[in-house]
Amino acid sequence: MVAGFVLLGSNGAFADHWTVEVSAPDEGALGETIQLTATVEDVATGEPVEGAELVFFSSVTFAGVGGDIELGEAVTNELGVAVFNYELRKLGTHTITIEGGGEPNILSFPVTIGGQLYRSPPRIGLIPGAGGWVVTLVVAGVWVTMIVVGMAVIRVTRGSRPDGNEAEAEEDEQERRWGSKWLNVATAVTAVMILVSGGLIALLIRSPNTHHNHNPEGYDRTAVAFVEGALPRIRPSPRCRSRG
């Protein structure tokens, strides 16, 4: 899903001798990495400042405690432009704070985005050929073997050939006829096994579609997205500004 991306905030001076212009794309998709651009100029000369170090923070609140998480750093080039790649990882307003040159001046602006952030990592899928079909085949193989056993037992029921005794043959025939009137356990068990195996295999085969975010058509959920990279580190105290 592509969400509207609004850059608010006031551009201002970092320090007495610097000005900064901040820009960002008009919109960004969830999970996308957007570029925050900061252009730093010298107030006195109007020339771009090269080599200025800018530090980017995000304001967050967790469990009633607020503070700033350091997102990373960027250094201006010869044009005075520092580009910071920012990954859109959450809903709502993003407040990015930029500090530069060791000066206390801070520039904040909120970012509004929308959508859902999730994508399952590949895990075992990294092994070539691994997937649900392997599990399905193994389960099917086991159940087919059990059904073969069931068929053998059906042959026990039907395949009674008394060894050369007429009286026994007659008795056997009577028993067989009696059995056919009532429940034939072997056939019933085999039928149950076929049904159960069908159910289990159906469960495995349809499993990719049981969670609708994997099949978004007609389902009101956002597209799957994934953000890679290391987690931002919590800025250690005392620079963490508590608001809770």
Partner: protein
Amino acid sequence: MEPMNDWRLRLETTTLNPARKTTRNYYVVLFFLLAVTGWGVYAYSVQVRRGLVVTGMSDRISWGLYITMFVFFIGISHAGTLISAILRVSHAGWRSPVTRMAEFITAVALTTGALFVIVDLGRPDRLLNVLEYGRWQSPIVWDVVAVTTYLTASMVYLYLPMVPDLAFFRDRMAPFVSRPKHMIYRILAINWRGTTDQKRHLGRAISIMMILIIPIAVSVHTVVSWIFAMTLREAWNSTIFGFFFVAGAIFSGIATLIVVMAILRRVYRLEEYITPKHFLYLGYLLAAMAGVMIYANLSEYITAGFKFEEGTEFLFRQLFVEEFAPYFWFYFIGGLLTPVVFMFIRRLRTIGGIVTAAVFVDLGMFVERYFIVVTGLRAPLLPYEPASYTPTWVEWSITAGGFAFFALLITLFVKVFPIMAVWEMTEEHELEFEQMVEYEHEFDEEGLSATGVSDTTQRLEPGSPL
């Protein structure tokens, strides 16, 4: 030498007796088990009405006694696989009197264990979610598939070798049982006449199943262990959990078989067939598996203790010296060392000693399942105080009901079905008998040539060493 027919007649009578005669004690036991099971059902109805809030489980420790029962019963279901399938594959002749018991322990334990998953759900209708939303990537789905497969396979594997004995019951029980009960035998005997064709087909079916059921059983307890090992918890973060659980399952399965065997032997006077030899052999197997379990424990804890990652200290403290220390040390000393010691010391290597060791093993393994489940969840993942878990009367009642249900199913089984594999035992005995006759014949001939005596005065009795 006792004629073969006399021996067979005695075996048949012994096997028929439990189904033919019902003592007053049987009804007392039956009533008691029904009452405890009923109490468990009542407790479960309370839980269904009021929800899982009536249990001691919470958001932090969301598994307790129910999952312990599930893992424990799935574990002891391996009795049938080991004793029946593995020993049958390896042609261990001594197994035949105990195979039936092992097989029905499997079926009954699996039924009981599977029920506890539903109990743990709180709302039983939530089981349908597995079918509706299940995905093959989920360990829960692996469990459903494996347990269903194993339950079906073990029922079939229980039934197949029983067909000739059911036919024997069909032919012999008509005067002693009601018409509907006889009809059940007639239906279940599937027209068995013991013809060459039938023997061939049945033999083929049993051969396939006895091999197939071994990997199925191993897979079941492996995926049961993966329910834990696939979860990010310090206590469950182990690569050998699958092996550990399979070994533990076989271990507790043997112990349960020994206990059930001892009870049925005493109640139904099976001393002639279930001999001290059976206890001794199973005792050795128990001690061997205890050795495997000790090794697995040492391997598990030494590697974790050496690395001592974050969280290990908390786990080790609660397990070895704090809250769960009594459980752990009871399991380790009572459950693992006892069978080794009992089998090592000659004076303790008696039926009573082996049964005592088996009881300790069962208790130890139950406790082990409990602390594996609870300690894993107790360790906090965030800087909170550790959660606590105390089972409520509802959980204890349902647990007691579960054990009673397990015993009830066995009690009912032995009342209806043959408790020993008559045809297998007869085949074994016939083979032994033929070997003995052959030996005697050879002995006679050698005796003649060596001593010139035309007849031997010493006769071997059945069971004498060949």
